[in-house]
Amino acid sequence: MSAAIVGVAYNRQERRNIRQNIAEMVYEVTTQALADAGLEIRDIDNVVTVSNDFWDGRTISSMAVQDACGSYEKNISTVEGDGTFGAFYGLSRILSGEYQTTLVVAHSKGSESDMSLVTNGMFDQFYVRPLGVDNLISAALQARIYMDTFGVSEEDLALVSVKNHGNALKNPKAQIAKSITVKDVMASRKLADPLKLYDVSPISDGAAAIILASEDFMRRNPQKFRPVFIRGAAFCADAYDLGLRDLARAPALKKAAERAFQMANIRSVEEIDLAELYDAFTYMELMWYEGLGFCPEGKGAEFLKSGATQIDGKLPVNASGGVLSAHTVVAAGLIRIIEACLQIRGEAGEHQVKKEVRNAIAHGINGPCGQSHCVFVLSKEA
């Protein structure tokens, strides 16, 4: 691999950003990411935007941000999926040798539409969509299968909520930060059994941007970069139809992780210092531990209870507060990459983990119930 992330930025995630439209949010993170990299827009030779037409309520939604992301008269195309997938596409462009610097920018405004109707729109229009199933309902079905298969309790899931909302207290960009107990989670409003309000990520507004550069570009430019190297990246898609899937497990994550670890020459979980995972719901974080091989299948809750994934544990997960604390759909995965970069650079701020972070995992999902997974291995060294 010969590509690095040289600039990152994301804005404060909030329930309803009434000050900025999507282009204004994108301009903010684009200029901040450029400043972070010490680059100017003329240094960027191509742009990948990440957005979703349903959330934006318009087609060709990338053109709504054309000026804001500085893509005028440049090669720009859009990934409609999670930001990690946009970053993967940006990385592919760099590795093709045809591009030196890619800006990847993602935006989402959950506040402008009806979450249930938008996420209902991702399902098959003949056999699933007419039933009104949405992101929350499908997640509840998956949570129940996972719990039933491995004997996981609602209290076990609550521990994820306690950890991540607690971590968010130290992240000024998180939307929902609070000191809560398992009892509070259990007492929170029932939404779709077994999921309660505190098991579920919020609706959020926000944007995020990263700048990828080739090694050649970094060599040829005198700026003092603080590069985070991409040593492995892979993605894999499971069946789209929930009726065809083993919902208690994440085989697509397993495959993506194995491939990414192989590329990065990661031989053991011990070599991973930190992870930022796409925990849209509490149960997902436990399933993703298992899919990534952090612990054996079905042992996610035990792994969490061991303390390993706490901010001061041996493998902190979602020190930022994770997606549970702010869920800007499609930007959320890119934020996981950004948070992992900041931790590697030692610049995460108050939620910076104490130990040195040499290798970090950033993970994103796309599709219902974690259908597709994208895994990045990010490192201090090339």
Binding site: L117, R144, I145, A192
Partner: protein, 160 residues
């Protein structure tokens, strides 16, 4: 009406009341599936000639085998619960635009004779503990059927 945002000098624009309707082509196999449901309250699956898996609802291609399927096989309107959830909040029914009454159930079912799972509503019994993974269920059909998934009213527990 002056909103809080207006007072701050910020404005919103509503997308308006016009809807964006589509006429989706159900396709060859899906049309047969819906015809049988409408006319005979009969579920059909489609079998992969390679892996022999029976898919319900039907589709043209077996994804893992990348093989075209053409053999329709009848499957039961009864099966068992693979997973379920009980909705405690109201949301818009995309078919009617109305808010769904709560609580109501949503389930994934494995029909007898099928190798894949089928999703639909599940009637929530007075005693909610009677719902569990593995419980036997059957489809309840509407009196008036028009060739849509909603010709099935919901699934209900089979009294034991």
């Amino acid at each position: 009406m002056i909103t809080e945002e207006n007072k701050q000098g910020l404005f919103f624009m509503h997308s308006g009341d016009a809807s964006q309707p589509y006429r989706y082509t159900v396709g060859t196999w899906g049309s047969k599936f819906l015809t049988e449901l409408r006319d005979h309250k009969q579920f059909y699956g489609i079998r992969c000639p390679k892996c022999k898996k029976v898919y319900v609802p039907v589709r043209q291609v077996c994804g893992p085998c990348f093989t075209e399927m053409t053999e329709l096989v009848p499957v039961s309107a009864e099966g068992k619960i693979v997973s379920y959830t009980i909705l405690r909040f109201q949301f818009l029914d995309p078919e009617t635009g109305e808010r769904k009454p709560i609580p109501y159930g949503y389930g994934i079912f494995r029909l007898d004779g099928a190798d894949t799972n089928f999703q639909h509503f599940i009637a929530v019994p007075e005693d909610e503990s009677r719902l569990f993974i593995g419980a036997r269920v059957r489809a309840v059909f509407r009196e008036e059927r028009r060739g849509s998934l909603r010709d099935i009213l919901h699934f209900e527990l089979v009294a034991d």
